[in-house]
């Protein structure tokens, strides 16, 4: 009973925040329009590098950074970029920031760079970034674009952490490399294999869908 009432108050809390227009830009990316669970964008990285929580976190933050920087720049340049070549210009801006991120991660941690592999470079073709550039940053002010990017980036990182955490706990019996499962725990090897990625995301989507349906009925 206490759990239910707690949930209700939490919902009320979210709603009261969401009433404020600028915070709404932030909140919507995290929850209501979560890029992975609701818009089903950016599937490739969210499945490919989510076999451990640390990889998922690094990937999420790298993507969020690129999203933030490209949203700022595109929003600043939105009056100067001709409409016909906008997509090409966005891609070039994004590619520049991704190259920057790639070299930065390489400088910080070679191990992390190796385990993420080509997927850092592949942030360029992450649909989330291009879709935010096209759907939001090219039409809104810098301040709003920053909030939007932060929300979407956080939402993406959150989704990635959910998938990565679940896969690591079940597949390797650890969380962020820290092994906590009892010795008799049989590791679900399938979870760290590619098929596990599909199943985990499908499972999370099922939960999300049933939650949404319950809410829309009520």
């Amino acid at each position: 009973m206490s759990l239910i009432s707690h949930k209700k108050s939490e919902k009320g809390f979210f709603n009261s925040i969401a009433d404020h227009p600028s915070t709404d830009e932030f909140i919507k990316g995290v929850w209501r329009e979560n890029p992975v669970f609701v818009q089903v964008l950016g599937m490739c990285p969210s499945l490919a590098v989510s076999n451990s929580a640390i990889n998922a976190l690094a990937m999420g933050l790298a993507t969020a950074f690129v999203l933030l920087m490209s949203n700022i720049l595109i929003s600043l340049l939105r009056d100067f970029i001709p409409k016909q070549v906008r997509i090409a210009s966005y891609i070039l801006i994004i590619a520049t920031f991704v190259t920057l991120t790639d070299y930065t991660i390489q400088a910080i941690s070679i191990d992390l760079h190796k385990s993420l592999g080509a997927f850092i470079a592949l942030i360029v073709v992450n649909c989330i970034i291009l879709s935010r550039a096209e759907a939001f940053a090219s039409k809104n002010s810098v301040g709003k674009s920053i909030l939007d990017a932060l929300g979407m980036g956080l939402g993406f990182t959150f989704a990635l952490l959910c998938i990565g955490g679940l896969r690591e706990v079940l597949g390797s019996g650890s969380f962020f490399g820290y092994e906590f499962m009892p010795y008799f725990f049989e590791k679900w090897v399938i979870m760290v294999l590619p098929a596990g990625g599909f199943f985990t995301l499908a499972f999370l989507l099922l939960i999300f869908n049933s939650y949404k349906m319950k809410n829309s009925k009520a």
Binding site: M43, L92, A121
Partner: protein, 193 residues
């Protein structure tokens, strides 16, 4: 220089390390255009074509970038090449078959942001393939992508007629089927060495 034989490169790229089912590349079209077998086949052919062309161009770009000593331009130049190839394919399809152009819809220009295409260019560079090997690798990757797309489309055409619980409708169901497909593709491991 990598000395893997052409045959093993092809088998590796198309079956063992299938781009969609083992590397999770090109998931968006895998979820989006896998409704009908016919569209899936043609989408696969278009992607394969773009892959091969851009892999060949990427080979040339690497030599050019090595000559002027600017490896940091790699990613940007790849993307430009891919975007222009997609533009070319788009104009070609629009001219030859307007019906197909409509069926593929938004997913045609989106080949630009298909991670599988960029990944082929990046992987062949990191593996140090020669020009013939790159060609076979890109071809194999394209065939593997088409195969996954067509298999999924066939399954989805059957699923249309079966009952599914309401919360599993849509993406979740496709992902579950994808997981099972991915499991079965693991059976190819060890093939071709």
């Amino acid at each position: 220089m990598n000395d893997a034989s052409l045959w093993s490169i092809f088998i590796n790229a198309s079956l063992i390390n299938n781009f969609v089912l083992a590397y999770f590349l090109g998931i968006c079209p895998f979820l989006g255009v896998s409704g009908k077998i016919e569209t899936a086949t043609k989408m696969g052919a278009a992607v394969t074509f773009v892959m091969v062309i851009s892999a060949m161009c990427a080979f040339g770009i690497n030599i050019a970038l090595a000559a002027i000593n600017a490896p940091f331009l790699q990613l940007i130049s790849y993307i430009v090449v891919i975007a222009s190839t997609v533009q070319l394919v788009e104009m070609f399809i629009k001219k030859v078959s307007p019906a197909l152009f409509k069926a593929l819809g938004i997913f045609l220009p989106l080949i630009t942001t298909n991670c599988a295409v960029l990944a082929v260019a990046l992987f062949q560079t990191s593996k140090g393939f020669g020009i013939l090997q790159s060609f076979v690798y890109a071809l194999g990757a394209g065939v593997g992508f088409t195969l996954a797309l067509v298999l999924m489309a066939g399954l989805r055409e059957q699923l249309e007629f079966s009952e599914t619980i309401s919360i599993a409708k849509g993406t979740a169901l496709v992902l579950l089927v994808g997981g099972i497909l991915s499991l079965s593709f693991m059976g190819f491991a060890g093939l071709g060495g």
